[in-house]
């Protein structure tokens, strides 16, 4: 790989990642879990994890990629795929524009190729700052194209989920993305290729009920909310208070739906190890 282009790509991702550093607060950052205050630079330097209690702040897609991929290996896939408005829903285009301006993203998913410890892979990240990382047609399409790209090039696939569920304004087309992404994963899996799903806070609704739950290996960040129905809806339905820790990553691990809860600081190393363990897994 040509050194000058790799350096340029590394710089580009680093610049985008800085924009994604959105831990709220000025000099001092208050942790929403423990309430403790830390210096912003201490939180940012700790992968946006509270140095006091280990709370994982949500992070943006490019920042996530910069913490996982080898420097200079990032190459975005379908970065220009446009946001859609398939139902011509009133006010939706304006909502998309506001989210785009706020995040610098075109849609809630970023997909890319890159290397981790020198091993090439395809990765996708949902960004919860963009309309709650909800599943739009563009998100479903980007994820599907990434799965298809990985299948075609016989590469392992890593998807990071963070989603409030369906994109209301895209109605039934949002729903159909669940079938589309799951079907693409069936074809990918039939080729004997590895898919690692990483669940981050929050992973709910249609994303949980499709690609996020279909990993050969499923990892989760500590404390991440993971479920199909949201806790508020469940509480309204059953009329009881939900138990402490319900639907959190540790609860899902205990109930058999997560292979391992992995702190953000160990994620890159864990992924590298899993890629190494599956090195000869792909059939021709």
């Amino acid at each position: 790989m040509s050194g000058i282009f790799a350096k340029r790509r590394a710089r580009l991702l680093a610049m985008k990642a800085i924009r994604d550093n959105y831990v709220p607060g000025d000099q001092l950052v208050a942790c929403p879990k423990c309430g403790g205050e830390s210096q912003r630079k201490d939180v940012a330097g700790n992968l946006s994890v509270c140095p006091l209690c280990g709370y994982h702040f949500p992070i943006g897609a490019y920042y996530r990629l910069s913490t996982i991929l080898d420097p200079g290996s990032f190459r975005e896939l379908n970065g220009k795929l446009p946001a859609a408005d398939p139902l011509s829903f009133p006010g939706y285009r304006e909502k998309q524009r506001l989210a785009q301006r706020k995040t610098g993203l075109t849609e809630a998913a970023v997909t890319a190729t890159g290397t981790i410890g020198g091993r090439k892979c395809v990765t996708g990240v949902l960004d919860s700052r963009f309309l709650m990382g909800s599943m739009s047609a563009a998100v479903g399409e980007k994820i599907t194209l990434a799965i298809e790209y990985a299948a075609k090039n016989k590469l392992p696939l890593i998807l990071f989920s963070a989603s409030g569920g369906a994109r209301m304004q895209e109605g039934i087309l949002s729903l159909m993305q669940m079938a589309k992404t799951s079907a693409a994963l069936a074809r990918f899996s039939d080729k004997g290729l590895l898919y690692i799903s990483v669940l981050t806070d929050p992973t709910t609704g249609g994303v949980t009920a499709s690609f996020a739950s279909l990993g050969d290996i499923i990892l989760a960040e500590p404390g991440a909310l993971i479920g199909f129905a949201g806790p508020r809806v469940i509480q309204q339905t059953i009329g009881e208070t939900l138990p402490e820790g319900f639907q959190r990553a540790e609860y899902q691990e205990e109930h058999g739906f997560v292979d391992a809860v992995v702190p953000r600081g160990e994620l890159r190393e864990t992924l590298e190890r899993l890629l190494r363990l599956h090195e000869k897994g792909g059939r021709a």
Binding site: L87, G140, M168, L175, K180, G205, A209, F228, I234
Partner: protein, 270 residues
Amino acid sequence: MSSLTAAERVAVARHPQRPNITDIIGALFTDFFEQKGDRLCREDPAILGGVALYHGRPVTVIGTRKGKTAEESIRCNFGMPGPEGYRKALRLMKQAEKFRRPVFTFIDTSGAYPGLEAEARGQGEAIARNLMEMSRLTIPVIAVITGEGNSGGALALGVANRVLMLENAVYAILSPEGFASILWRDAGRHEEACGLMKLTAPDLLALGIVDDVVPEPEGGAHLAPEAAFRALDRALDRHLAALLKESGGSLASGRYQKFRKMGAAPKEEP
């Protein structure tokens, strides 16, 4: 076709006397043998399934079950399945594939049950698994939305070669009440939501989400069920005959392509 508004169709789709899965099996199939249980945990009465004859041919029939009496409704959890129901459905579909039987699914549900135990046993995983496995079945699969088809809980039985809708059925990401509540924090605006959601059969036919609309008698299927069943039978027979001409591989790839196209960006070569 009649000219009901979207909100009126929602009311017809939810009518308590609307033909349900038990009525449909009684009218269109013979020798139905119910198969219970997911072989893992329990039997979920919110989904009814089994093997039956359709015009003399063995088929697998699966459908969400809403009760008609209060007692029956409670027993089948008002047609809201848990993960066990979806896993039972998948078990029956895989079995249909083993015995090379076509699968019919009939969908009428306000959604997957949002409950504590359903979550603890992996509601999301069960739905995801069905979507994935249905996409690669090598047998004909025909799904019919007969009443309400809401959310992933409906789609989990809906990854089919042909998706049909009864004329007054509705198919959507969630109920109009839920939609209004999430989008505007006001469930009272559900009628307005109905108008925007594109949830009626004609809308979904135009969007390419469903393949065929089965006409209903004036005012809805509950007013003249026999006529509704005749129309449904004609549609099922026609679509099944076409699918039976295809090979297993072609059925799976045809189904894949059908869903692959939904919400795809205008084609630009990489």
